[in-house]
């Protein structure tokens, strides 16, 4: 365990993290300049939709990070992480909905459009307070966090593990999806929440707002990454890894396995909720299909393709797969996207158990070995010190 501050540690000792921060820094500086300062007809101009698209990828990357924290470091394969993401998104969506005020289609100053449409007379109690950004932000963390705490407390205490846990997390998100699809729930039913106007008084359609959201997302991703690195490098992180590798042994040694699992599960759900909250204002809609078990499984494949248990691998995987998805689903290959995704699942699990990061590592090691061989073969001592 190093006593150095975590950021310094990551920048100096961890090559991958250093690169990640460099790329994020470049993105965070270049994208706003290229979008706002460069004229629209310039070849270097980054259109606003592209800013939003990258912002979306970053939200997904954060979600993948959250999953990697529990799956890669604690062996908890959640097939319902989309639920936490969606809950965070709904909390933010409710705030944005209240910000519409009387600018909705029906012009009702108190009730959102869908409630007017359903002939509701007054705002349900659970919508109170969402006109306050601070309260909404609290709920962004509280809603997924509480659910994760309750669910995790029950599940880990009774030692539900492995595939059983995966299946009941899937059931959880499925049940939530069914619930949110109901109009009576007061969350907009099928259509969800949409038609947002502004956030904290800034117009959501304005380029500057979009860019600000993008930068905030980037900062949050960086923060989440540092937090995850901090947790996994701490002493508790070592315990988590030992739980992943041998749960019973860790328990017998004397660690409270449930507590560690619960802690990391809740942290992960908070990150997922924040990702959802950042996702909604950029995309402009949140609906129950975010709870779809299929979405949650897709998150797993992002992590698996990127490389499980590395954190930066999850970010790479999420961005790669989603970039591929955007490319394929919008072109002539739209029909083949699911073939590709299906094949990715099979190929990564069988041939790439360590994901893209694993390939890069393997390549780097090969190069390093080659260099070492050359160094050993060469009698001149100066070349042996190379990296």
């Amino acid at each position: 365990m190093s006593r150095k501050p975590i950021l310094q540690l990551l920048l100096t000792n961890d090559k991958a993290s250093r690169w990640l921060f460099i790329v994020m820094g470049v993105l965070g500086v270049l994208v706003p300049i290229l979008n706002l300062a460069v004229p629209a007809d310039s070849a270097f101009h980054v259109p606003t939709y592209m800013v939003t698209l990258i912002g979306k990828y970053l939200c997904f990357a954060m979600l993948a990070l959250a999953l990697d924290l529990i799956w890669g470091y604690c062996g908890i394969l959640s097939l319902g992480h989309g639920a936490f993401f969606a809950l965070g998104g709904y909390a933010m969506g409710m705030y944005l909905m209240r910000q519409i005020g009387d600018r909705g289609v029906y012009g009702n100053p108190v009730l959102p459009d869908f409630m007017v449409f359903l002939n509701w007379q007054e705002l349900p109690w659970y919508w109170y307070g969402f006109d306050n950004f601070g309260f909404a932000l609290l709920m962004v963390f509280l809603a997924p966090g509480l659910l994760a705490f309750l669910f995790g407390w029950l599940a880990f205490r009774s030692r539900v593990t492995g595939v059983y846990l995966s299946i009941i997390t899937q059931a959880l998100t499925y049940a939530l999806m069914l619930a949110f699809f109901r109009n009576d729930m007061g969350f907009g039913g099928n259509n969800g929440l949409t038609d947002f106007k502004d956030i904290l008084g800034f117009d959501l359609q304005a380029d500057s707002t979009r860019v600000s959201l993008f930068v905030i997302t980037l900062l949050c991703l960086a923060g989440a990454y540092i937090l995850c690195q901090y947790i996994t490098r701490s002493k508790a992180g070592r315990v988590l890894i030992s739980i992943r590798d041998a749960e019973s042994r860790t328990r017998f040694i004397g660690y409270k396995v449930e507590h560690y699992k619960l802690f990391v599960f809740v942290v992960s759900s908070l990150i997922a909720g924040l990702a959802g909250a950042l996702y909604v204002p950029q995309i402009g809609i949140i609906n129950p299909s975010e709870f779809n078990p299929l979405n949650s499984i897709e998150i797993v494949i992002w992590v698996a393709i990127g490389g499980r248990g590395t954190l930066y691998g999850a970010i790479i995987g999420a961005i790669l797969v989603n970039y591929a998805k955007t490319t394929f689903t919008s072109g002539v290959f739209a029909e083949y996207w699911l073939f590709i995704l299906g094949a990715l699942f099979v190929i990564t699990t069988i041939y790439l158990p360590r994901g893209v990061v694993g390939i890069l590592d393997g390549y780097r090691q090969k190069v390093a070995r080659k260099k070492a061989d050359q160094a050993a073969a060469t009698p001149v001592p100066q070349t042996a010190g190379g990296k």
């Binding site: 539900v160 059931a171 049940a175 069914l178 619930a179 099979v346 699990t349």
Partner: protein, 534 residues
Amino acid sequence: MNYTIKKIVLIAIGLLLSWISVGWSADFESLTKEVAQSSYAQKNKLIDQLVALEDPRSLTVLKAMLDGKLYLQKSDQTVVIGEDHPDGVQIKNISDEQVIDVVGARSLEKVKINNSVRGKLRTVIASLQLSAKDASLRRQSARDLIKSPDAELRDIIAAAVEREESSSVKKEMELALALVDVESENADRRKQAIKVMSASYSPEALAVLERLSADKEGAADIAKLAAEGADKVRHRMGIMKFIENLFFGASLGSVLLLAAIGLAITFGVMGVINMAHGEMIMLGAYTTFAVQQIFPNWIEASIIIAIPMAFLVSGSVGVLIERTVIRHLYGRPLETLLATFGISLFLQQLVRTYNSNNVPVVTPDWMSGFYQVNGALSLTYNRLYIIVFSLLVLGLLALLLRKTLLGLQMRAVTQNRAMANSMGIRSSWVDALTFGLGSGIAGIAGVALSQITNVGPNMGQGFIIDSFMVVVFGGVGNLLGTFFAAMGLGVVNKFLEPYAGAVLGKIFVLVFIILFIQWRPRGLFALKGRFVED
């Protein structure tokens, strides 16, 4: 004066001629034609003569006439039965009911009836039906009369009750009679009618009884009697509703059982999470569709043919998946889950590329329809068959596991793979066959499910979560547990539905299972024994 006499004579001759012609034309077609051509006043008499012929076809003609579907063709004055058709009117021959043609409405003249003829027709049709040779026809007409009681038909119904031999049909006729009698002036008759109605299961009788019991102006004793009767009927119908719910629950449970039973093998016996299980069901359903397409003339037998076919198709796909993918992933359940999920996406898209819409699977005649137990309870055949079928599959599977060599080897591999290997069991082959068996059974389930749900690329997804719930709830590796879990969940779901609605009921069940797993992490019937983890 002379003119008047002439007219009278002419009319008399005309009448005489028509009477003679009626007498002569004793055969069905010409008599029908006359009925169609004659005046309202004559129609009543001619209808009686038509009935007197005792020709079974006359019922169809009279019904068509009552419904305004009997036409005269303007060109040659032949009588036809017409049905509405997008391109005009589709006409049928009255003698053998064969479709002749589709013609424009202008070339036809509707056989008109007035109220008197209408009343006559109704009476005649009722008495014809009530005295039909076929008991099911008599039963049907009694049921029609229960739905719409007609005081004018009282004597006919009473006569029919007298001569009825089948006791069950007689009961329904008595109820029909009671529904007429209850409105009569005669107090004794009304009381008798209420008594009959109180012993029935009919919602119609209940409605009448409730109306009478609430009637403050009528006789007090009748109202009291009716109130008591209504209570009895309501109680009895409550029991029937319970049985109906139980039946629906059992049928839903057997659907779950069919969907989950294959999973119980692959997951329970092998510990493999097969997320493509739903797609194996889908393949089975599509096999049914394919069989029906290939043998369009054998629809009645198609289901029977499809069962072994679906087993082979899904089973061989299962073996293929096991040999190419799952084999590499044993001992890594989470990775298996992901890989099979990829396979499921692949298979779905494969089917979607062929046809992205739902395909129509025909239900054979012997599977449609329902068995009416009484006025308040009817059991649909397809659900009845599915219950029987799922139990049959479960029984056969249990036999296979208990009594065959493969079953023995499968159980041995489940319990201790290393020991089984050293005893000379080729566990890799057992794995492949077990996975094939589980997939094949999913295929069979698909055949059955094709009869009650839509068959489309997404159909498998609808079952996968439910199936997992059943297997986990019942306890992995235990067929009996799977059976109880499926039936229990099905019945609970159906009983929750009236109170909570279908969706909320389902949510409750899911939450219940999530909580249940906390209490018994290994399901209802956990395998006994000591397991070493990690």
